[in-house]
């Protein structure tokens, strides 16, 4: 298994990002065949499940650590597919999965991070965000939903908030699923070909696709301004679904291995407990 995929995919603070220079069909850190990647995802899944149980167990004795995986990307980039194929290896009871769609009227009356805060995982849990607070500098910026004077301040606000949470025990794994414009067209056309996929398609998808260059600009700003030491972005080439699953599994695995959570010792005397139990 490759090591330090994290290092190869991370954007460093201060990096200049040019998405067109990053091929969406590349497979950094992996040079085998698809079938091997699929096998490795299953293997990593087993190791991930074990690490997750230890993370969860540690929280029972006060370990505050938790993980947030942020999934962002253009329509069809595979946010849902990543949850289905990567996160499904984990114990669902320890996952907190939230899909952030357009905010409700109630949510709009709060500051933009309020609803995200509400969806955060607890100590010991792994949170998975299908879209996130970054929509407030992506779709919001592209569609002028608030004035520039408002959204342009959000990058720093996000950095400060993510930093505060990192200080409190949150490990951020922010993943940009990078697909090419041609691959998006193929995927949208496939949805039209299959009646059982029609529910995933809306006429709006075509309108959003026309704004591709604007989204590219907005994403580039996000990657450049919000890749901090506490919470870097990872650019995962996602034209190949199997590579995407492999890379996200790897990112999660490398971070959890580093956290190295431990089963807490019991707060009781096992001998005494056994004696008490045998009396019942």
């Amino acid at each position: 298994m490759a090591s330090d995929v994290r290092g190869r995919l991370a954007i460093q603070p201060g990096d200049h990002v040019k998405l067109s220079d990053l091929p969406a069909d590349a497979t950094p850190g992996f040079d085998g065949k698809k079938s091997q990647a699929v096998r490795e995802v299953a293997d990593m899944g087993r190791e991930l499940a074990g690490l997750q149980e230890r993370l969860y167990a540690a929280a029972s004795e006060g370990d505050r650590r938790r993980v947030v995986v942020v999934l962002q990307g253009m329509d069809t980039a595979g946010k849902g597919g990543t949850v289905k194929h990567v996160i499904s290896h984990l114990n669902p009871a320890g996952c907190r999965i939230r899909a952030f769609k357009a905010p409700s009227e109630e949510e709009k009356r709060q500051h933009f991070l309020w609803r995200i805060d509400n969806g955060l995982p607890q100590a010991g849990e792994i949170g998975i965000f299908d879209r996130s607070h970054y929509e407030d500098v992506l779709v919001v910026r592209v569609h002028d939903l608030v004035p520039e004077s408002v959204w342009s301040r959000r990058y720093k606000q996000i950095n400060h908030w993510e930093r505060m949470l990192a200080d409190d025990g949150v490990t951020w794994i922010k993943v940009f699923l990078h697909i090419s414009r041609g691959e998006q067209r193929k995927r949208l056309l496939r949805r039209l070909d299959r009646p059982d996929k029609h529910w995933k398609f809306s006429a709006n998808d075509v309108r959003e696709r026309a704004l591709w260059p604007d989204y590219r600009t907005a994403y580039t700003t996000v990657l450049e301004r919000c890749s901090t030491e506490a919470a870097p972005w990872y650019v995962v080439p996602a034209d190949h679904k199997w590579y995407r699953n492999w890379a996200v599994s790897h990112l999660l695995l490398e971070h959890l291995r580093d956290l190295d959570p431990r089963y807490p010792p019991g707060t009781f005397d096992p001998k005494q407990a056994r004696a008490a139990l045998l009396r019942t």
Copy 2:
């Protein structure tokens, strides 16, 4: 695969329940070997995942249907294990899993169904409750946490509330995981033997175990008074973990097959959409 496991495990309204007459190591509806049960759970998992996707898709066009699986049982009965081995076959993005522990101070200041209401799945989702509102007539009754005049009214309140939700599209699958007192002792002792299981053990487990007869009485009342047409209880013998997983998978499968959710037709003209897409 067996059919109508549901009918064999359900408590009917008006049934007299005597748990001691129901062997906890029985395997109603299944007469094969453990290995066959394990294979069938995996097969059912694939069918469940397909049905779940259709349920989720249907909600995108206004189908309000959703499912709530309630898991109750004595300590070590396998509530967590059921989530891990049965629910893990589903797409985690469509599941809403809640573990209801002792209520917080904030929750205590609301009526007892308030926090459960807050945890309900949305249309298209499958909710899984590890413990539930039934704790308010179980642990609450056994430990006299509120006066009898209060808890004794709750059975009817629960029935009315579950009925209202059933009318609104909720399918209830209420599962009592039925283990024997001897099996619980074995499982608690095993937790003491394994340091990596110590975090699951607390001295309180022994004290609760001593109240076994009181819990039996409280559960019997629940099964008798809250098995309604809209929301019957299912008693799943749970001394064999493999049977427990098989039976819960079966219950879920039979209910979802009955719901028979359908992919909604698109709300657009595929030809026009294709033409628009090819222009981008």
